[in-house]
């Protein structure tokens, strides 16, 4: 290619393209930066570790529903376990039925251990971590899910 041939890209077109791409890069970065703002860095919310009272309060073979905490606490021969009563489908609170749980919103059904037996729920009701607080009360951490079948022996 000789020096006299017309350039593939004119200097003016090159500068136009370069400045336009600089402009749109800056615009895109600014937009992305602004869109960062509504994505919360810290999720506000109440503490979801609930003290439910001394273990002796719950006798073997019983269950206790805690509606404000959205969980049901069970005690059987093997120990304590807590099942969340927030439906895994779209977050409604399930109601206790004779043979399990039923969701009022879209008809999901679970057995007494929280496993899905019908309806649209994609997974079982979560079993929550049960432990003992320093003062001897049972404590349930509703943010921590445990393998179903896990019991806590107090």
């Amino acid at each position: 290619m000789s020096r006299l041939d017309p350039p593939v890209l004119k200097r003016r077109s090159f500068l136009t393209l370069a400045s336009l791409s600089a402009f749109f890069t800056a615009l895109g970065t600014a937009a992305a930066g602004m869109l960062r703002l509504p994505n919360p860095a810290v999720l506000p919310g109440p503490v979801r570790r609930f003290k439910l009272g001394p273990p002796e309060q719950f006798s073997v073979g019983t269950e206790t529903a805690f509606s404000d905490q959205n969980l049901v606490l069970f005690r059987d021969e093997e120990g304590f376990y807590a099942i969340s009563s927030t439906c895994t489908h779209l977050g409604c609170t399930v109601a206790r039925t004779q043979d399990g749980f039923a969701c009022p919103c879209h008809g999901s059904k679970f057995d007494a251990k929280g496993h899905v037996v019908g309806g649209p729920a994609p997974r079982a009701l979560p079993w929550l971590e049960v432990g003992l607080a320093a003062n001897g009360d049972l404590i349930v951490n509703a943010d921590n899910e445990v393998q179903d079948g896990t019991r806590y022996r107090a």
């Binding site: 506000p44 489908h89 977050g91 609170t93 009022p104 919103c105 879209h106 649209p120």
Partner: protein, 512 residues
């Protein structure tokens, strides 16, 4: 007295007249067509109309005034919305009490709130009907494709405005509807969970966090919904509405068939010849709009002055809309349930009627019914003008040959398919009832909603092949979606009760 004093007194005397002339530049009621033109294009609010309008577009049965009705309803929601903002307090502690104040204490508060709610509902209804009108009159075709897309944007914004407004009263209805709605935003997790990807890639969680600002519906959600409802969405809607109107004008008015030279048009009860070439006619800039042929050398005889004909028509539609909204608001009060309670869900927790079709789909699979199918439908609708590019039939109801039979066949087909699917689902349950251990992916992929979409698509393809026409297959698909939407909405409204069980009538719901 000095000259200046005389002049001052004279000015004072003619003050009202001068103010009026300054305001109305064209003087009194225009008498000539020239003055009528000036009245239109000298006025900021009228100049978005062209000066003359085709007689066909004024025929009430072409549009039924549906677009104008939707815009009128939007105006009503803006006015009543501002009034409600005088008392409303967007905080979880005060929101419910302030709505209660508006409901029971504020003078005319209940009536204003009713108007706000009814005009919002009528807006959703008229926007949907307007879309159906534009579709069935083939008015989306070249060069109006872009305005069809703007219309889709307006549809989405209308739905988003309704959805965000639903939370603000902070009652049980609001709280549980938005809990469900935000979990639908979260529902891609259903898919990523089933694939084991959520840990690395969680678009659902991001959407929910952006919407709620938290993991649950609380103060952050209320603040965000309030900002969206009273500012972001209305401003976007006004901008798109401006573009929508502007494009109607620039695309050459409402879609209509080409006039036959020497043909007859009916206007004002008389038939007159529509085309008389007047070579001496000159045209101002305001007559230069996009059309298939330049307007030069074609007489404007098949058009009439926008002032007064079009403006009377628009005013009449506006008055009718206001009257209908008033009557509905007078006889039917907006609901206000108990204050939001995170421990006890409403049973049944039903979304507003226009989302109930989606709620029925969601009761099969949250991801498929709540996100996938709506996105497929919206994208499919948006693509119509780009896939169906053959001109013909614009501005005439069922204007292409063979459209009416296809419409009726599709109506019957979609009714049978939807009712059949609902009967099957109600009587026999679905996959999980037959195979309790089935993997969630199967339920996401195969459920009554996705099957209906598939059946409708197959029907449309069969029309495409049998009738050898893209327009007819689009008519088939659009009719199927419309019927599916209407039937699912009806079914979820009337036949779904507590625990989302089937009931013949709400009166059979168990009392609790």
């Amino acid at each position: 007295m000095e000259k200046a004093t005389h002049e001052f007194l004279a000015n004072l005397k003619s003050l009202p007249v001068n103010i009026k002339n300054a305001w109305f530049r064209t003087g009194n009621a225009p008498e000539s067509e020239r003055e009528e033109s000036q009245a239109t294009f000298n006025n900021l609010f009228l100049h978005i109309h062209s000066v003359r309008v085709h007689v066909r577009t004024l025929k009430p049965t072409l549009t039924f005034g549906l677009g104008m009705m939707a815009a009128s309803n939007f105006l009503l929601t803006v006015i009543t919305g501002v009034l409600l903002m005088v008392y409303y307090k967007p905080s979880t502690d005060l929101a419910y009490q302030s709505i209660k104040d508006i409901h029971f204490t504020v003078s005319t508060g209940l009536f204003i709130r009713n108007i706000h709610r009814w005009s919002a509902q009528l807006m959703v209804l008229t926007v949907i009907l307007h879309m159906a009108r534009v579709f069935f009159t083939a008015s989306y075709k070249r060069s109006r494709e872009f305005n069809w897309l703007i219309g889709m944007g307006l549809l989405i914004l209308t739905m988003a405005l309704s959805f965000t407004g639903y939370l603000l009263p902070w009652d049980q209805l609001a709280y549980w509807a938005i809990t469900i709605g935000s979990n639908i935003a979260n529902s891609p997790r259903e898919l990523t969970d089933a694939l084991g990807l959520t840990h690395f890639f969680d678009p659902g969680g991001l959407q929910k966090r952006l919407l709620l600002g938290a993991n649950y519906v609380g103060q952050d959600a209320l603040t965000r919904f309030y900002v969206l409802h009273i500012f972001v969405l209305p401003v976007l809607l006004v901008i798109l509405l401006g573009v929508h109107f502007w494009r109607i004008r620039k695309d050459g008015g409402l879609a209509r068939p080409e006039d036959e030279p020497g043909g007859l048009a009916e206007w004002g009860g008389e038939r007159r010849e529509v085309f008389q070439p007047l070579a001496t006619k000159t045209y101002g800039l305001m007559a230069l709009v996009r059309g298939k042929k330049p307007a030069v050398n074609r007489g404007p005889e098949n058009t009439v002055m926008s002032w007064p004909h079009l403006f009377w028509a628009e005013l009449a539609v506006f008055m009718l809309t206001v009257a209908a909204t008033m009557v509905l608001s007078f006889y039917s009060n907006a609901p206000l349930k108990e204050m939001a309670n995170a421990a006890i869900p409403e049973n049944p927790a039903k979304a507003p009627w226009y989302f109930l079709g989606i709620q029925e789909l969601v009761s099969y699979s949250a991801f498929t019914g709540g996100l996938l199918i709506p996105v497929i439908v919206i994208v499919g609708l948006g693509l119509i003008p780009f896939l169906d590019r053959q001109l013909g039939g614009e501005g005439v109801w069922f204007g292409t040959r063979g459209e009416k039979p296809v419409f009726w066949q599709s109506l019957i087909f979609a009714t049978v398919a939807t009712v059949g699917m609902l009967v099957l689902t109600v009587n026999f349950g679905w996959l999980r009832n037959w195979f309790p251990t089935i993997h969630q992916l199967w339920i996401i992929a195969i459920n009554p909603g996705s099957l209906l979409v598939l059946i409708f698509a197959l029907w449309s393809i069969s029309i495409l092949r049998r009738k050898n026409s893209i327009r007819l297959s689009a008519v088939a698909l659009f009719t199927c979606y419309l019927v599916g939407f209407a039937l699912l909405t009806y079914f979820a409204t009337v036949h779904r009760g507590p625990n989302w069980h089937f009931y013949w009538w709400p009166s059979q719901w168990p009392v609790h």
